[in-house]
């Protein structure tokens, strides 16, 4: 039985900033690959996508998320769910990532 309190969702999200998409060279949270995150019962459930179907780095990014999640005190397992819908697009990036890649917001 773990003696650590469960981490908050924000804490986990911050930790996942350490995982990068190696090709884009930027963290997967700000790129917008994380579609969902739940923290409950010493378990983290991450729903994520990739920038393109069959991304060569897909397995390594998922493994990276798992490894980083397991390093958080109180977390015993990380459940990763890879989805393709809705498809990722650069518009899913946070403003800071868009600024880094010089990506303009789509017009409404």
């Amino acid at each position: 039985m773990s003696t650590h309190a469960l981490p908050s969702r924000e804490y986990v999200l911050d930790a996942l900033h350490e995982v990068i998409d190696p090709e884009l060279g930027y963290n997967i949270v700000d790129i917008g690959l994380i579609y969902g995150l739940e923290v409950a019962d010493n378990l983290i459930k991450v729903t994520l996508t990739m920038t393109t179907r069959g991304c060569p780095a897909q397995d390594y990014i998922m493994e990276g998320v798992k490894q980083r999640g397991l390093r958080i005190p109180g977390v015993q397992d990380v459940d990763i769910h890879l989805v393709w819908e809705p498809p990722w697009s650069p518009q899913k990036m946070t403003p800071v990532a868009k600024a880094y890649f010089h990506i303009e917001d789509d017009l409404p």
Partner: protein, 453 residues
């Protein structure tokens, strides 16, 4: 999850290294004046050089890239990783046999001439294994995306090219077989070249670029009816011109065959033009404002393809294609196909390096980015020099001044050597140690920002 996933083609780096050695060897032969333009096109050493480039360099390069990227395109694994190594061994030994056979042809060593069909058979075996390895995931992917269909079409042309080549090899080495295919031997070599350079290399390169360009530039992947037109026109164009051309070898007076051949040429011209326009659209609609060196340098390859198209049209219309075909082939081989290959290697090599050397660190600490494994400022002059060398060599070939052509190839060979050194540095992680940490550990619940622009 496996430490090395089935998305990684383990033998691809070795295949790339062997391909590069073959390319440098071929360039060395040209620089040494041992091949065309100093020697005849039919000289054994010229044929050795041509096959070192087409089989030893470009085909192996394409196989290495396809072994890595077909699982990416299809999300299905290769049939078997070990088949990739078997393909490399068969193609390299087959090529060695062919080289001995070509040289024996010129030196009258009749016993060794049999090495030509023997080597060709080994190459055919390697190609069939490669096709099995690549086609299996393609056929298991439903619906098959546009890049995958280009690859399937390209492989069909590859088989046709190899079978034609094997027929020539038998005709040259087995006297009893020669009369049966004498017309083919006399007039069919051009279609062997067209099937290889156009149907195999160009269609496959278009397909792979339709996956890689959007992926690396964050451009829309869906090419819609435009991409479909490029595919259909490309297949029918190369298919019609090659098949009608081969038949016209036996029936040279058949007007219908000539008409079909011209129809094929027209389809090829429209397909390549449509592709180049689509490439421009891809660059224009990209979301990544600042693109990386490999995507900037690839423009040299696209310019070469556009130049080759314009020159080919002029030569066909003015009925001077036969006279200048070698110069045109040089532009396609060095500018378009090798240019595309060298520029894309500059991304693929560090990507494979990252996966093999650094991927296991992801989530356990700071890791370098793929971009951290290369030094673009140091490498970009090599690409400029390479394409300038190709332009000079092409000019020399068209004005028929051998030393200008050789000087151009010398320049591009030097640049190839420089690029090979940079690939090696990327592979060894030479620049990785200089990289700043990319994924700093942020204090929990504080900054949500990434690295500074």
């Amino acid at each position: 999850m496996p430490a090395v996933s089935d998305r990684l083609s383990r033998w691809t780096p070795l295949i790339f290294a062997c391909a590069l050695v073959n390319f440098l060897l071929a360039q060395t032969l040209i620089v040494a004046g041992m091949t065309w333009p100093e020697m005849a096109l039919t000289a054994g050493s010229t044929l050795v050089t041509v096959h070192l480039i087409t089989l030893g360099w470009l085909t192996l390069l394409m196989f290495g890239a396809l072994f890595q990227f077909v699982p990416v395109i299809t999300t299905k694994p290769l049939l078997n990783q070990w088949l990739s190594l078997a393909v490399l061994i068969l193609v390299e030994f087959g090529l060695a046999g062919m080289i001995v056979g070509f040289l024996a042809l010129n030196h009258g060593a009749s016993g060794l001439v049999y090495c030509l069909p023997f080597g060709g058979t080994l190459v055919l075996a390697g190609v069939l294994l490669a096709m099995g390895n690549i086609v299996t995931p393609l056929l298991h992917s439903r619906p098959l995306a546009l890049p995958g269909r280009f690859v399937l079409a390209g492989l069909a042309f590859l088989l046709a090219t190899i079978l034609l080549g094997l027929t020539f090899a038998l005709a040259l080495s087995v006297p009893a077989f020669t009369p049966l295919v004498a017309p083919l031997l006399a007039g069919g070599v051009g279609y062997h070249v067209l099937a290889g350079l156009g149907g195999w290399f160009t269609l496959t390169a278009i397909g792979v670029s339709y996956k890689l360009l959007p992926m690396f530039m964050l451009a829309p992947e869906e090419r819609g009816w435009w991409g479909e037109c490029v595919l259909q026109l490309g297949i029918s164009g190369f298919g019609l011109s090659v098949s009608a051309g081969l038949l016209s070898v036996w029936w040279p007076q058949a007007v219908l065959l000539n008409a079909v051949q011209y129809l094929g040429w027209l389809a090829i011209v429209v397909a390549v033009m449509a592709y180049l326009i689509d490439v421009l659209r891809l660059y224009r609609t990209r979301k990544r404002a600042r693109i990386e060196l490999h995507n900037r340098a690839t423009f040299g390859a696209f310019l070469s393809l556009a130049a080759a198209l314009v020159i080919a049209v002029i030569l066909v219309v003015s009925h001077r294609l036969a006279a200048y075909a070698p110069a045109l082939v040089l532009l396609v081989l060095f500018g378009w196909l090798s240019g595309l290959g060298l520029t894309q290697l500059y991304k693929i090599v560090p990507f494979l390096t990252w996966i093999m050397r650094y991927s296991h660190q992801l989530g356990r600490g700071a890791v370098p980015r793929v971009q951290d494994l290369v030094d673009e400022a140091r490498t970009s002059p090599w690409f400029v020099i390479y394409f300038l060398g190709v332009a000079l060599a092409t000019l020399g070939a068209f004005i028929n001044v051998a030393y200008v052509c050789r000087t151009g190839v010398t320049v591009s060979a030097g640049a190839t050597l420089g690029l090979a050194f940079e690939y090696w540095r990327a592979w060894r992680g030479y620049y990785a140690g200089r990289a700043r940490p990319v994924a700093p550990i942020p204090p929990p619940c504080l900054s949500r920002g990434g690295p500074a622009p």
